[in-house]
């Protein structure tokens, strides 16, 4: 049998240390050469241009306020995410009602639904008095495009991330500790504050970092709702369009450095951060634990979720549904007018998404094994474990800007190649991190048992590691795909090619004359396809059980 022979050959090859060495080192080289170095190096190539900013006081003040706006908004929004998200996550896990499991599923959506569609939806809800949203109650725009709408937007897309992560952590949490605390006389709130939260601290910090990173990086939707307001990514985009390379490079560099510094500080100080658990106020905390207060807290959590997250996010459905009843729908399906460009963009987005996902799965798998199983010496895996996160925390438009400067030196690379490189960098950490974590969870004794029973490295990988990490592999791949389809900042920075989110930004900003029905329908198509992707993921996971 041919299959048998191939397995045999691969087993034979994988038994040779040289081959394994080659696989791990090529994966490492790929990471440095294509993922990590280009985005870091590009900016430095334009070192000499950076002074330009200071020649123009107006530009200097714009740059300063854009940078501070980025970090202030990110930190503010992430803190609010935690304050609002923790009680909600608590309610979802401990409330145990059917409604809550639906909310739990809804919390998955932001991972899949493109942020640009969210941006347009919020624009309709908060700012468009004619769209039937909250503004129509006032007859004028309740929240005009600008910094406040940017904050609302960032809260809307980062809050579910925090909820998702904490819900996961709470589900894994051993409830016994809280029970122990109660048998010792602690009120519910005291038990949660002094026992559960400190134990969940790593997950809380992780969710904070994710929210922070998303807020710092988001470009497409922010551009839609910002009007003349500038944060870091918008400033980079504006200077890029205006051809002011010096300010663009400088702000990119600062965003990258400050982001890296913030994440390093959180990573180093986070574990040492002591939660205030020494002091206990038994009577106050007992009062705050009573069911009336808990009900109020839960109601407020639900209200925040509905008013600030769910309803604004779904609002894009109104123009979409009206569009289906109108001629816009048939135009869209026929590819008439603006729709020709739309379908091309969507095709491009999915094409890039698929290529990037496949490439990263191939080169990311050995990297995940290397990190999880500490191959290639003791030091390298630890360093790589930290470095793979870098593209995650760097604002994607800054990463794209730097990347495009770097690759421009290689004129033979077509624009679509740049696009692929940029998306490779941005999506890489999502997959490698998920896979490495999944492999780490496999008991090493299972691998040992397999080896003792005679499995060669390839067979071991095929029969033990792959089946046990299948879920993470699919999930990681789909996250990567979704992230690539959603990515706007880096795409804007490296190419003039229009991917779907870039096109939608153009439509909303009236660069291309599109009606609100058309924009709504465009968003709806994108969401629908994302939904199908999510559904496929769920079916895969359900069909094959946990593994």
């Amino acid at each position: 049998m041919a299959g048998f022979n191939i397995t045999k050959i691969l087993d034979l090859l994988s038994s040779k240390p040289v081959i394994r060495y080659i696989i791990y080192s090529s994966s490492t080289i790929f990471f440095f050469a294509l993922i990590l170095i280009p985005p870091m190096l590009g900016i430095l190539l334009k070192w000499d241009l950076m002074g330009q900013v200071f020649e123009d006081p107006n530009l200097t003040s714009r740059a300063t306020s854009a940078i501070s706006a980025s970090f202030l908004i990110a930190i503010f929004v992430s803190v609010v995410d935690l304050v609002a998200g923790l009680p909600m996550a608590w309610f979802i896990v401990r409330g145990r009602t059917r409604l809550l499991s639906i909310i739990d599923t809804l919390a998955d959506l932001p991972f899949i639904v493109p942020t640009v569609t969210l941006g347009y939806s919020l624009l309709l809800f908060w700012s468009d008095p004619k769209a039937g949203g909250i503004s129509s109650l006032f007859g004028s725009s309740l929240v005009s495009p600008g910094w406040l709408l940017v904050i609302l937007l960032h809260f809307t897309f980062s809050y579910p991330v925090v909820v998702r992560v904490i819900v996961g952590a709470l589900q894994d949490y051993n409830y016994m500790y809280e029970e122990a605390s109660k048998t010792l006389g602690a009120a519910s709130l005291t038990a949660a504050r002094t026992v559960t939260l400190p134990i969940l601290k790593p997950s809380i910090i992780a969710s904070f970092i994710l929210a922070l990173a998303r807020s710092l990086s988001e470009t497409g939707a922010t551009v839609m709702v910002a009007d003349t307001f500038e944060n870091g990514p918008i400033f980079i985009n504006n200077t890029r369009v205006a051809g002011q390379e010096g300010p663009m490079v400088l702000v990119s560099l600062i965003l990258i450095l400050v982001s890296a510094a913030i994440f390093a500080v959180i990573r180093i100080l986070g574990p040492r951060l002591k939660m205030p658990i020494k002091r206990i106020w038994p009577n106050t905390e007992r009062v705050l634990s009573n069911s009336g207060i808990v009900t109020t807290r839960n109601s407020v959590s639900i209200a925040i979720f509905l008013v600030l997250v769910l309803i604004p996010s779904l609002f894009v459905a109104f123009p979409a549904v009206s569009a289906i009843a109108s001629s816009t729908f048939s135009d869209a399906l026929g590819g008439v007018g603006v729709w020709q460009g739309y379908w091309q963009s969507l095709g491009l987005s999915y094409f890039i998404g698929i290529i990037v996902t496949l490439l990263n799965v191939i080169v990311g798998l050995p990297m995940a094994v290397l990190i999880a199983r500490k191959r290639m010496g003791k030091v390298l895996p630890v360093i790589l474990d930290i470095l793979v996160n870098v593209p995650l925390i760097v604002p994607s438009i800054a990463l794209g800007a730097s990347l495009s400067i770097f690759w421009r030196n290689f004129a033979f690379i077509p624009e679509i190649g740049l696009l692929i490189f940029a998306h490779l960098s941005i999506t890489y950490p999502y997959f490698v991190r998920a896979m490495a974590a999944a492999i780490e969870r496999i008991d090493i004794e299972l691998e040992n048992a397999s080896k003792i029973l005679g499995a060669k490295p390839f067979t071991l990988f095929k029969t033990i590691i792959l089946p046990l990490t299948k879920y993470s592999l699919f999930a990681g791949a789909i996250m990567m795909f979704a992230r690539s389809v959603d990515e706007t900042g880096a795409t804007l920075a490296v190419t003039t090619l229009k991917t779907a989110p870039v096109l939608l930004v153009d439509w909303v900003r009236r660069k291309v004359p599109a009606t609100s029905l058309e924009i709504g329908l465009g968003c709806a198509f994108l969401i629908t396809f994302s939904f199908v992707v999510l559904l496929v993921l769920r079916l895969i996971v359900r069909g094959r059980g946990r593994y």
């Binding site: 016994m176 109660k182 048998t183 010792l184 519910s188 038990a191 002094t194 134990i199 009577n283």
Partner: protein, 368 residues
């Protein structure tokens, strides 16, 4: 004084499909060391958690110190609880674990410190106050868990398989220590275990549970000497079961075993003709070489033997094809070899007779 009363309590899981505790009533006296004993899944831990308030009963009432506590949350029941895996807070050192109770009860600092020190000295861990749980051995963690549970000053101590995850030797040491402590501090203790040896050694009284029901409550001696249920007879100590039927009831009961082997027992509660199971403990038998004519003699040969240290265990194949196990102290009397012809006998008052279970013997003794 903590006296615990459980009245007609039931608890179901899985939408009522699994009855974990089935209409159980129980009374535990003040200062009593009480064990809930049974195979895994019998509902003993559920019952303990109901008493602690970690679970709510579907039916029935639970009283602690005469007060109905059904609607009292665990934090207000004034109990000490030791978890099977200890549940020591991983982010707190030994000292903060032990003084957690006094702190959440807002005792003044001096009192908290004094109690913490007393508790840790009592379990001989005062030098390890700075250690974190992951730095301790299993036995130490167990002792910290115990002192943490007692530091709240509670007089009712609930223990969920507290010795279950320890090595055999330490388990033996700690169970003696545990009983001494409970008695010295005049506590009421409810101890859940699946280990009958542990329950026998540590308890004043034991409730044997199976499938959510309590089969028998009694002192260790009562359960051993006078089991009321065939499952209890099997679960407490060891037993041989021989099938037969009642041939004659007079001053004694004559039972016919297989192939017309007749034995006499003192129990005269069964009716003539009734199908029964005769239960005799392995250590009850007298075993002699050759064919001796005595009361209640059974003849056979040694089929196998196992040396167990303190005892030697013989598997004897009787002439009627029944097989029995006989256990003799190693250092008393003579030893036998495989294939030796032997006579095995037992006194009429040290054997028990049970009505043959309607679902069959195997089903009645099943522990799962």
């Amino acid at each position: 004084m903590p006296e615990v009363k459980v009245i007609n309590v039931s608890k179901k899981f899985g939408g009522g499909k699994i009855v974990a505790v089935d209409n159980v009533s129980l009374q535990i006296q003040d200062k009593e060391y009480f064990s809930l004993l049974g195979p895994s899944g019998c509902g003993k831990t559920t019952l303990l958690r109901l008493i602690a308030g970690l679970l709510q009963p579907d039916e029935g009432e639970i009283y602690i110190e005469g007060k109905l506590v059904n609607n009292v949350p665990p934090e207000d029941r004034d109990i000490g609880f030791v978890f099977q895996t200890y549940a020591l807070f991983p982010h707190m050192d030994v000292w903060n674990n032990v003084t957690y109770g006094p702190r959440v009860k807002a005792w003044n600092e001096e009192r908290s410190e004094r109690i913490g020190r007393e508790m840790l000295e009592m379990v001989r861990l005062y030098e390890r106050t700075d250690a974190f749980p992951h730095e301790l051995s299993g036995g130490m963690m167990q002792r910290v868990a115990l002192s943490r549970a007692l530091a709240t000053g509670s007089k009712l101590l609930l223990l969920d398989e507290p010795l279950g995850s320890l090595d055999a030797k330490i388990r033996f040491e700690l169970r003696n220590e545990l009983r001494r402590l409970v008695k010295d501090l005049e506590l009421t203790a409810i101890h859940v275990t699946h280990d009958q040896g542990e329950a026998m050694a540590i308890s004043d009284r034991i409730a044997v549970m199976r499938k959510g029901k309590i089969l028998q409550v009694g002192t260790p001696q009562e359960l051993y000497m006078n089991p009321k249920h065939i499952f209890v007879a099997n679960f407490i100590g060891e037993s041989n079961f021989l099938e037969g039927h009642v041939e004659e009831v007079d001053k004694e009961t004559t039972i016919e075993l297989r192939r017309e082997v007749f034995v006499q027992i003192s129990d005269i509660t069964k009716k003539k003709g009734e199908r029964v199971i005769l239960m005799i403990r392995p250590e009850t038998f007298v075993i002699e070489k050759g064919r001796k004519k005595k009361m209640n003699s059974l003849y056979g040969h040694i089929e196998r033997l196992r040396f167990e240290g303190t005892n030697i265990r013989y598997e004897v194949r009787l002439e009627n094809e029944d097989s029995i196990e006989v256990s003799r102290p190693t250092l008393v009397g003579e030893w036998f070899n495989v294939n030796d012809e032997v006579t095995v006998s037992f006194p009429p008052d040290k054997s028990y007779v049970f009505t043959y279970p309607s679902k069959g013997l195997r089903e009645e003794l099943a522990v799962e």
